[in-house]
Assembly symmetry: C2
Homo-oligomer: 353 residues x 2
Amino acid sequence: MKNYKISVIKGDGIGPEIVDEAIKVLNSVSKKCDFTLDYKEYLMGGIAIDTTGHPLPQETVDGVLDSDACLFGSIGGEKWDTLPRELRPETGLLKFREEMGVYANLRPAIVYDELVNASTLKPEVIQGCDIMVVRELIGGIYFGQPRANDGFKAYNTMVYTKPEIIRIGKQAFELAMKRDKRVCSVDKANVLEVSQLWRDTMNELSKDYPEVTLSHMYVDNAAMQLVRNPKQFDVIVTGNIFGDILSDTASMVVGSIGLLPSASTGDKTAIYEPIHGSAPDIAGMGIANPIATILSAAMMLRYSLNEIKAADLIEDAIKAVLKDGYRTKDLASFDAKEVLNTTAMGDLIAAYI
Amino acid sequence: MKNYKISVIKGDGIGPEIVDEAIKVLNSVSKKCDFTLDYKEYLMGGIAIDTTGHPLPQETVDGVLDSDACLFGSIGGEKWDTLPRELRPETGLLKFREEMGVYANLRPAIVYDELVNASTLKPEVIQGCDIMVVRELIGGIYFGQPRANDGFKAYNTMVYTKPEIIRIGKQAFELAMKRDKRVCSVDKANVLEVSQLWRDTMNELSKDYPEVTLSHMYVDNAAMQLVRNPKQFDVIVTGNIFGDILSDTASMVVGSIGLLPSASTGDKTAIYEPIHGSAPDIAGMGIANPIATILSAAMMLRYSLNEIKAADLIEDAIKAVLKDGYRTKDLASFDAKEVLNTTAMGDLIAAYI
Ligand SMILES: CC(C)[C@H](C(=O)O)[C@@H](O)C(=O)O
Ligand SMILES: CC(C)[C@H](C(=O)O)[C@@H](O)C(=O)O
């Protein structure tokens, strides 16, 4: 029987509650699909600062590197926002991404028929929408050197090299091959040199994928089109900061941020986490929606462990639960038959499997 | 009787048609308000490339500098997209902004009750929405040095100095004083040094405006909040590239891009233009919506010529025309009583004044 080593980072705020539910569901599906999962917990973010004095202990890096995949909750909170930059939870997160070499952040934005009213966008605009945002995650202006702030003048550098663009581009094209075979590359090539290289490289790369249609869009227009007509998109590929902005815009197409998973993959251990934050205001109240984390666990099965059937089972269970009218508090006003707390929702999804 | 010198840049595509209507309305309102306007036309963009070989002739720069304000249509089109970067219409536009020192780009996004259905967002989410986006226009990554692309590695620099941040911040606070007294400054201070300086400087500046409430938002969250709950915003102030993206997102809140004006103001001559592009596909067909340009002319009266009454008259006339059910083709499906062509819409607004 196959056995996988899963590193678990529960993090801060609602992190622990939602990760527990994902583990519950993973255990249920693993029994059904004949594999086992060994979990090991590691510290990161605020709790790591409080416990070890550092947002990303070396033990965490080593432990995650030694695992097959990492299931991640959420980190951060006001409590740690006033610390010096190098000690903040966010700094730990960026360092973690870099250490894991996770250059590709995949964020699916899928509109469930059952929750078509949960968006602020009109149902007819979003129904059937299925977008995959592929965001470059360890380059661009987030990591570019030089960077400085002397209190009078401050700057950052947005930089990409051709190999960096090729590897993220490949991810996008490969994903498109399994989907609707359309890639929209987003840049600001009418203004930025770095975007011109991005665009030229995507054009070159597209020759290796003759079946995929590549289009280009300026980032301002892409932000607009995501609101105007999101259904026009299949795969969107873009750089780090543009992807940060556009994937959040895409999440609003779906509306319910409690449903959105993500995968960060690259050369080493991949990280699976909900796109929502640690929501300290509702931590410990048992009302957090665990579905985004459970869907992230499904992505883990699909992309890191190649347990496709198990991933399908989880996704189908979630669809069934939503269809049968079960909701957590955040979605209570959208055709709810019964409103469940965090644990009950986890139990139910596990049971549906 | 007061007399103002107006430089006019009609540009490419639908530019000439829509600017003609704005001039028609300006002439009508100037008679009523006892001032005169002298117009002088200058070339820019594609038409300037075709006529003079350069997207921004020196004569245009000199002429606009010598005027009280500049009324601008739109530039660009596929025809010129393959020219070398330094000869493209966009390059001319950026150079033009720099020459005019227009550091503040003001983009109001106001939802008209009559067109509350024209957005893809639900009416209840946008009704009554009135946002002013204040975008820094001649700094940041658009103009930062160094910048290069050697075909293997490419980079741009996002840079701001304190004085640059202060002058755009002042614009935002001054505008907020005349509105709901709330400024939301948008940055990515959790990742970027340049954003940290931006945030610190805004905090400092806010001490000079004790009546105004300053808040901060990360750019990814701001993009999300503009879709989730746009009514929470009064004035948004942000840097060049973030403003480029967010103002386009904000325009989708309003929905009808044919209604959105803008002002670019600074030390020298201010520029007034619709936010939409040159729409070559419908140029010369007489179906373009001139309202965004006419509203830009109203902004010109308000901000550059201090003819407040005339500005109010134009804005009221437009509201009345919309209320009475007159629409151009782009808005034909939103409670239209009668659909007018470009000239007829200009005539009607002029007549309502
Ligand atoms: C917390 C922050 C540094 C992070 C980012 O900007 O990448 C977050 O917004 C995200 O999208 O994961
Ligand atoms: C055409 C382009 C250079 C320009 C910009 O990015 O500033 C446009 O998008 C705008 O917003 O006015």
